[in-house]
């Protein structure tokens, strides 16, 4: 099996094995076993780096549903390698960290099963070349994220957060699927690489813009872009390792990956440019602006993630402009925006992962994440403080940390793109560097808040009583590795540039020469506008941080009712109420009503068909003679049927119904269908016995609603049903619109080796029906069993709403 398939399938395999074998394993070991999966995958993937950086790519195909063009095609190039290194690398660190973070009392096998499920799905997303397979993995990441957010499912907020993220990301995913199908219609292929090669064919198609918007909807919902960002802060109900892994380092980057992957297809189009960079800039600003007013450390980091994702997104938008110009020596500068985007993608994962783990440590050791209750932890937790300081300052864009490099490149790109004169940038372009700069000021402020409010100042009284101390060493290992990377990348950025970013640039700009797109990254590039912007950010940031309590009132100006959260909540509650009302209106628990729906539908369709198609032909020519005993049986049945309606007690009704059933069996006997007769007899006996067993549980027959109109309408419906069935029975004999298939079955002995036609039909010709009927019967039996045995007893508590 090709190595790429193993990489994707290994996490899934262990996700299956762990729930099966977790009872045999000590809880201490589960996490360590899981730890070796991402670790070994990471080491395996690092061996790809030299070959990928030489421009090689790897592809393998397993034919899955070739008739529908759906094949399991993996494709490893520079772009997917970066993402997969992040998935496995951060994954290993997160699993290591959660070994210390999660108590051994938690249901660890669930946690690690979901985590591995996510890991496999995410690797599947970045390696899939086939759109449909990519979509399947994409939705699987949403599902595993849902499961992980709701890991503490006894908490209401966890369930609400999980549902919110699921609703938003899956809706976006479905939009994306529609976009994929449009791409398929335009290009005739589901392979991303083939679509890129045939991009000329699709760029003038009428579906081009709709497909573009739909694919972006998928990317924006996943990457928490404005206004879909509202799910990410609520997803913080997940355990902190999950937030560090899914909701900052990997899953939310899937949208970024998708945009980068589709840039060769859609890039160069004005709609694409404005949607990606415009939405990115708005998200960048809105996220950082809102992060400042949060009081929960995790909420600050959530909004900061939103804002940083917006930054990367807008950079990808800037970079797509290079494709509008095509390859020239002038246009090559715009590819540097994409270069910066990919660089910041890596940087963000390192410092944000470390920050989340830092918050987890604070939460774990101090017991709260609320900055109003925290303060002065510096002297108790010096190592955690160092982690927080490095992470935050990198995020704020200060040297000597990697965030500084990518932030400077961001400013460069913003200024360059802002001074262009295409896509009506000559009038609007000036706003791009301004928004970028203002957002960076807010970024700087919340970075100061994270460090300052938690670690400096006085220790607040309510946490003073706790025994404050540094976290155990095991918990510090993962964030320390990450912050070491933060510093190392600052000093040796060109290693990343040459080995990881260079091949990824080829994925985004397949037609451009690769060497020219790889700039050397310098920490010092003279006193240029970017540096002045950074200095301005620092000065204004510090001033505003000191004055924060004077201007924080700004946030009160926004009306509560108009936030996206309340719109979402309103939409959800309204639609729930509406569907509940609608359902309650017809599902009122009255069996008679349900029968009326069924029968009216039956009459309308069946009788309606026979009336409109004029298929009802009745002549007595072909009819055989009716014997005397058949007549007697008919009269017996008519009499019992009428008598049934006058039965006053249930037992009479059951017995009379039995008489009807046995009479039908007699008919089968007289028409020489012994199988049917036998089956009918046994079924009838068992049904009657079953009725008698259930009998004691049933209440007395109640006097029915005796309004005249009600009675008459029920009578009319009953008669109509009877007439319809009679018509069908009589018409079937002369029905000639379809040819009969019975001749086929008469040859049963040769075709199926059995002489009993009925059974060859059941067991061979139409065995699919029989198989599924058996399954349905079994499920129905289990349903009866579950309804009776597992119903909530009186006094049982409702476990759902804690």
């Amino acid at each position: 099996m090709p190595i790429e398939f193993i990489i994707i399938l290994l996490p899934f395999l262990f996700a299956v094995l762990i729930p099966i074998f977790h009872r045999r394993l000590s809880k201490k070991f589960i996490g360590w076993i899981v730890f070796f999966i991402p670790l070994s995958l990471f080491i395996l993937l690092t061996t790809f780096i030299p070959r990928i950086s030489n421009g090689e790519t790897f592809s393998n195909t397993y034919e899955w549903i070739p008739s529908l063009n759906i094949n399991f095609t993996t494709y490893i190039d520079g772009l997917s390698l970066i993402l997969s290194l992040l998935i496995t690398g951060i994954g290993a660190l997160v699993v290591f960290y959660s070994n210390f973070y999660l108590s051994k009392k938690e249901s660890l096998h669930h946690f690690y099963c979901y985590l591995l499920l996510f890991m496999g799905a995410m690797l599947g997303v970045v390696y899939s070349d086939n759109l449909i397979v990519l979509y399947a993995f994409w939705e699987l990441t949403s599902v595993s994220s849902f499961l992980l957010i709701a890991f503490w499912h006894h908490r209401k907020a966890s369930r609400a957060g999980a549902r919110k993220s699921m609703t938003i990301t899956v809706s976006g995913g479905i939009a994306m699927l529609a976009g994929f199908l449009m791409l398929y219609t335009m290009s005739g292929t589901l392979s991303i690489r083939e679509i890129i090669v045939n991009v000329d064919v699709i760029s003038d198609h009428t579906l081009f813009i709709p497909a573009l918007i739909l694919v972006l909807l998928g990317a924006f919902t996943k990457s928490a872009q404005f206004p879909f960002h509202i799910w990410l802060p609520d997803a913080m109900e997940a355990p902190t390792p999950v937030s560090a892994y899914l909701h900052s380092a990997t899953m939310v980057k899937a949208g970024i990956y998708l945009v980068a992957r589709f840039t060769p297809i859609f890039g160069g189009d004005m709609t694409w440019f404005w949607l990606v960079s415009g939405m990115g800039l708005i998200t960048l600003f809105w996220g950082s602006f809102n992060a400042v007013r949060q009081t929960d450390l995790k909420a600050i980091l959530a909004f900061s993630t939103v804002s940083q994702l917006g930054l990367i997104m807008s950079l990808l938008g800037f970079g797509s402009i290079a494709l509008y110009f095509g390859y020239t020596t002038e246009s090559i500068v715009y590819t540097q925006a994409t270069f910066a985007a990919l660089f910041h993608l890596i940087n963000h994962s390192t410092f944000k992962g470390a920050l989340f783990m830092m918050v987890g440590i604070v939460d774990h050791e101090v017991g709260t994440r609320d900055i109003r209750r925290l303060g002065g932890l510096m002297s108790f937790m010096p190592v955690t403080f160092t982690i927080a300081l490095i992470g935050s300052f990198s995020m704020a864009g200060l040297p000597p940390f990697n965030g500084f490099l990518s932030k400077e490149m961001f400013f460069t790109a913003a200024i360059k793109v802002g001074s262009l004169d295409i896509f009506s940038l000559d009038s609007l372009g000036i706003f791009i560097p301004i928004i970028a700069w203002v957002a960076s000021v807010f970024t700087f402020i919340y970075c100061l808040i994270v460090v300052g409010r938690t670690f400096t100042g006085k220790v607040k009284p309510d946490i003073k009583e706790r025994d404050l101390h540094e976290a155990p060493f095991g918990m510090l290992v993962s964030p320390l590795i990450l912050v070491t990377l933060v510093i190392l990348i600052f000093f040796f950025p060109n290693i990343i540039g040459n080995y990881l970013l260079k091949p990824a640039m080829t994925s985004v700009y397949p037609t451009f020469p690769v060497d020219e797109m790889t700039p050397r990254i310098y920490a010092w590039h003279g006193l240029n506008p970017e540096l002045w912007m950074t200095i301005g950010v620092i000065v204004l940031g510090i001033v505003l941080y000191k004055l924060v309590k004077y201007w924080v009132r700004v946030y009160k100006w926004f009306p509560q009712k108009l936030t996206f959260n309340s719109i979402y909540e309103g939409f959800i509650t309204k639609s729930e109420d509406f569907s509940e009302n609608l359902t309650n209106r017809y599902m009122n628990g009255n069996l008679t009503n349900y029968f009326i729906y069924i029968y009216i539908f039956f009459i309308a369709t069946v009788a309606g068909y026979f009336i409109t198609s004029e298929a009802f032909v009745w002549n007595t020519l072909n009819d055989s003679n009716v014997d005397h005993y058949e007549l007697i049986l008919i009269f017996v049945m008519m009499f019992t049927a009428v008598a049934l309606t006058f039965a006053k007690s249930r037992i009479t009704a059951v017995l009379i119904n039995g008489v009807l059933g046995y009479s039908v069996a007699f008919f089968f006997v007289s028409f020489r269908a012994p199988d049917l007769a036998l089956t009918q007899l046994v079924v009838e006996s068992i049904t009657t016995a079953l009725f008698l067993i259930c009998f004691k549980f049933l209440p007395e027959i109640k006097k029915e609603d005796s309004r005249r109109i009600w009675k008459i309408s029920k009578g009319v419906i009953s008669i109509l049903v009877g007439v319809t069935v009679t018509i069908v029975g009589l018409a079937v004999v002369h029905y000639e619109k379809v040819t009969t298939i019975s001749t086929y079955f008469e040859d049963a002995y040769h075709l199926a080796g059995g002489k009993n036609i009925v059974n060859t039909i059941l067991g061979d010709f139409r065995a699919f029906d029989t198989m599924l009927e058996v399954v349905v019967l079994f499920i129905a039996g289990l349903g009866v069993y579950a309804l009776i045995k597992l119903k909530a007893r009186k006094g049982d508590t409702d476990v759902e709403s804690k």
């Binding site: 068992i686 009993n756 058996v774 019967l777 129905a780 045995k789």
Partner: protein
């Protein structure tokens, strides 16, 4: 309330034997004559239900310690298993095959994979029938 049901018990002892034989006969004869998995399962199931009705549930459960839910599950497994099994022989899903085999003592016999399929049907019917009736009658 103590019911004097000596006659019932005595008759049932004999009758159940006959019903069970009939059920097995119906099951096997289904290939070329009236019968088959469904009806065979129904007859066998009703024999077991008859036992439960005549004697009490505990007695029968001591004598026949089956979990009838598992019997039904085994039936479903057999039915879907033969369906999937045909894929291993590189023939379409649910293909059935048959052949004539020389078996010692019994002589030449016609063996079919449909029998396994039908056995699954029969077991599911027995299991579900008994499960439903037992769970309803045990409910207070």
């Amino acid at each position: 309330m103590k019911v004097n049901d000596v006659i019932l018990r005595t008759i049932v002892k004999g009758v159940v034997l006959i019903i069970l034989t009939l059920g097995v006969y119906l099951f096997f004869s289904g290939h070329n004559a009236p019968g088959g998995g469904f009806i065979g399962g129904l007859v066998l199931g009703s024999a077991i239900v008859l036992l439960y009705i005549t004697y009490d549930i505990e007695t029968i459960q001591r004598k026949m310690p089956f979990d009838f839910k598992k019997v039904a599950a085994l039936g479903v497994l057999l039915t879907t298993g033969t369906a999937i099994g045909s894929l291993y022989f590189n023939v379409p899903f649910l293909s059935q095959t048959d052949g004539y085999f020389q078996i010692p003592i019994l002589g030449e016999k016609h063996l079919t994979t449909v029998t396994i399929f039908e056995a699954g049907v029969a077991l599911t019917v027995i299991g579900t029938l008994v499960t439903i009736i037992l769970s309803i009658s045990e409910d207070d």
